[in-house]
Every structure is written in C-alpha cells, then in structure tokens.
Symmetry: C2
Subunit: 252 residues, 2 copies
C-alpha cells in the first residue's frame, strides 16, 4: 500500500512552508521599498543565498513565483471590493473591482510592475498548476461574463472577426475559464480582451506617470475610460446610477 501523496508527508509540508516564507519575505521587502534580491530574501530568512536554489532555479523564477502570489493576493482584494455590491448587480461589481484594481496599482506600483509590466512569464513558469487557479485574469473575465448574463450586451460572432482572432478564441491560451463562457458566445471573449486592454492601458499609463500628475490624482482619465465602456457593456440604462457609484468609489 504505497499509495503515497494523498497526504502530504512531513517533508512536503516543510517544503511548502519554506515556499510560503520565501514569498512572504519577498513581499515584505517589496512593501518596504527594498530591492527584491535572492541575497536579501535569504538573509532575512536567516539562510544563505545558495540555499534558495533548492527552491527556485534562478532569480527570474523567484520573480515569477512572487508575481503570481502577489497577483493572487491582489485578486482577493478585488473580490472583496465586488462584495460591497449585491450579487444581482454585476455591473456595480465589475465597476468596484476595476476601481480596486486601479487603487491597488497606484498604491503598490512596484508590485504592479512586477506582475503586469514584466516580460511575460514565457511559458516556463514554475508551479504551473497554480496558474490554473485564481488570477486577476480569470477573475475579471468571470466578472464580465456575469455582466453579460445580466445585461446581454451585444458581442461579435467569431465569423465576423479576424480569422487569427477567431482561432485564438477557439482555444484561448491565457487565463480564461472556458467553462464560464456560455455556449455559442465565444465572441464575448473578444469584448473582454478589448475591455481588459482599456483597463490595463489606463492603469499602466497612470502608474508609470506618463501623464500630468494632477490628472492622475483626479482619476479623470480612468473615469473617462469607464464611461466610454459603459454603453458597450449594456449599462446604458443605469448610467447615472453607475456613474455616481464610480465617482464615490474613486473618491474613497
């Protein structure tokens, strides 16, 4: 009966705990404004740098690991933001999550850069199993689908799209839970990607400061982008209510 690995062995638990400590220490360093380096992480763990090579193959892998965990934690924050709104009001939920995303990015620019302005983890990301679970990509995608289920905004058919796009939407590479996208409505993913591009774009622009700081501070560019998108997501009818909600969320 060597049916192992159903229960984690002591060794495995220890190893997992060490991974957790590596991530925790790394996040502490980033939060303190320090550089994320193998030696700094090791030092703070009371260990020498080469020891970390038992857990990550190189520096980039440490970065990928930390980036993934930061994304996961941040997404938990976005989820909390949605839950200030009733479950049957997905538009309000998406709106709150978007504002939370912006707030997090502006408040933690180093973490944001690590996750979203890093040359993409080129496929060889460690612990890929975790990549299938909660990431901000999955989360926002799910949120938008909920909005669609509620408001039934229009989306293109695959046949109307660039063939390359249609093919990409047939079997998407990136964090998207295909089980969530309704049968026959793959075109929704195209709307999602465009919305994501708009959100990502404005927030990145603000984080990197390539804009008048007074305008960043006011949130006007972000608000304008959201206003622009509301009709496309079937929120025309309640525009006033949602604009008010956006303004109050931005002011927090």
């Amino acid at each position: 009966m060597s049916e192992a690995s159903v229960q984690p062995t002591r060794r495995e638990r220890q190893r997992e705990a060490t991974y957790a400590e590596i991530v925790q220490v790394s996040r502490d360093l980033l939060a303190e404004g320090a550089e994320l380096s193998l030696r700094a992480v090791a030092g703070r763990m009371g260990v020498t740098a080469p020891a970390l090579y038992r857990y990550v193959a190189n520096y980039q892998e440490l970065v990928d690991l930390v980036a993934f965990e930061i994304d996961k934690a941040a997404t938990e924050g976005f989820r909390a933001a949605t839950e200030t709104q009733p479950e049957d009001d997905p538009a309000a939920r998406l709106l709150c999550a978007s504002v939370a995303f912006r707030r997090w990015a502006l408040g933690s620019p180093r973490e944001f850069s690590l996750v979203f302005a890093n040359p993409v983890a080129d496929g060889a990301c460690v612990r890929r199993d975790l990549l299938t679970s909660a990431t901000s990509g999955h989360f926002f995608n799910a949120l938008l689908i909920r909005v669609w289920e509620h408001h039934r905004f229009p989306h293109p058919e695959l046949s109307e799209l660039d063939p390359a796009v249609a093919q990409a939407l047939e079997d998407p590479l990136y964090p998207i839970d295909l089980a969530l996208v309704p049968e026959g409505h793959r075109g929704l993913l195209w709307v999602f990607m465009n919305a994501w591009a708009a959100l990502y774009g404005v927030v990145t622009l603000e984080v990197f400061g390539h804009l008048d700081p007074r305008i960043i501070e006011s949130g006007a560019i972000f608000a304008a982008m959201v206003h622009e998108w509301m009709p496309r997501l079937g929120m025309d009818a309640e525009q006033e209510r949602l604009r008010a909600l956006l303004a109050s969320e931005l002011a927090r």
Copy 2:
C-alpha cells in the same frame, strides 16, 4: 572682449561629442540585446567606469539620457512614416504614425520599456533643455491638432471637465507645445490625452505580452482600438478609406 559661449569652445565640443558617443554606445548595446550598464558602456568606449561619472551623476541619469535620445530618434521615424501621406491628409498621417509607433515598440521592446515603462523621470532629468524639443509627446500632439484643424471634431469645453483637469489643461506640465493648440480650444488637449492613453495602453499591453500572442501578431486589438477612435476624431466620413489604409500599414 570676453563675450564667451556664443561659439562653443574646443572643450565644449569635445564634451558634447563624448555625450554623443555615450548615447551611441548605449543604443548599440541595447540593440544587441545586452544589458545597459555603466561598465559595459565605458568598456566599449575604451575607458573605465568611473570616467563616466564626469558626464552623468549616476546610473539612472544615464538611463534618462539614453531614453530621451531614443525617444527623439524614434520620433524621427514616426515623422518619416507620416510623410508617406500627403500633407493635407492629417488623418492618414496620424494613422501611419500610430502604426509606426506600434511597430517600433514591438520591434524594440527593450528601448520601448526604457522610454515608456520607466518610472517617470522625476523632474530631475538632466539636460532638461532638450526636454522642450522634439519628443514623441510633442509630435503626436501636433499631429492630432492638425487632424482637428482639418476635420473639426468636437471636444469638451474646459468648463465641462473635472476642475482638476481644467486646471491641468490651463498650464500643462507635459510635452505639449501650447503655441500649437488653437485659442479657445484647450479642450482638445483632453481628447489628446484620452487618445494617447488608448494608444499607449494597447501598445504597452502588446509589448508586455499580456495577451494571446496570436492576437498580438494579428494586430487585431490595435486595429479595434483605432477603429473605435476614428469617429471621435471626425474621421467618420472616410472610414472605409482609412480602415483600408490601416490594414495595409499593419500588414507591412
């Protein structure tokens, strides 16, 4: 008659030449995929690293310097792209410049990151005098104003905008040539900033690869963004012609 500094002295010319060499060598390094480092630049110049401290105060200042010069050179490329179109067709010119911007960014991601994904030069940028001359910001702003002069698309009045925005538009901080913006049409700058956010956003998203590579390669997200913006810039009437031009430019 010690009326100096009207003609550059031999020393000053030598110094300027050294700056030029620093920039040139740095750009070579980046183009070769190598890291941009003081020691590497110095080494290739046949000089030791501390010597560079006679020209830049620290590494960040080297980066700022190189970033500025890269931006300047890239802008020259965008200008060349506009000149494939007739002068009285500013819409086509803007379109070509935008495609050139995207092409440059995707083709030189390291350079793009240096210029546009660097924590903004925090006011203390060296050789600030040069900041007033040609940058991509100035260039695209001028281009958009030309489009407005030709197509007279609508723009908001300052009084309709968020007061913080209105104030920022009264005396803008960032590369904008106020002499170019027509009297009483400061609201144009708001359109410009929104358009810039959209362009910057999509291109940054593509460069950092936070999107299905097949979709990036097809240029579909970029095209969708441009299509979205055409009506707002008064290009409705010629949409077909301009869409065709966009497609052919993207295919190059």
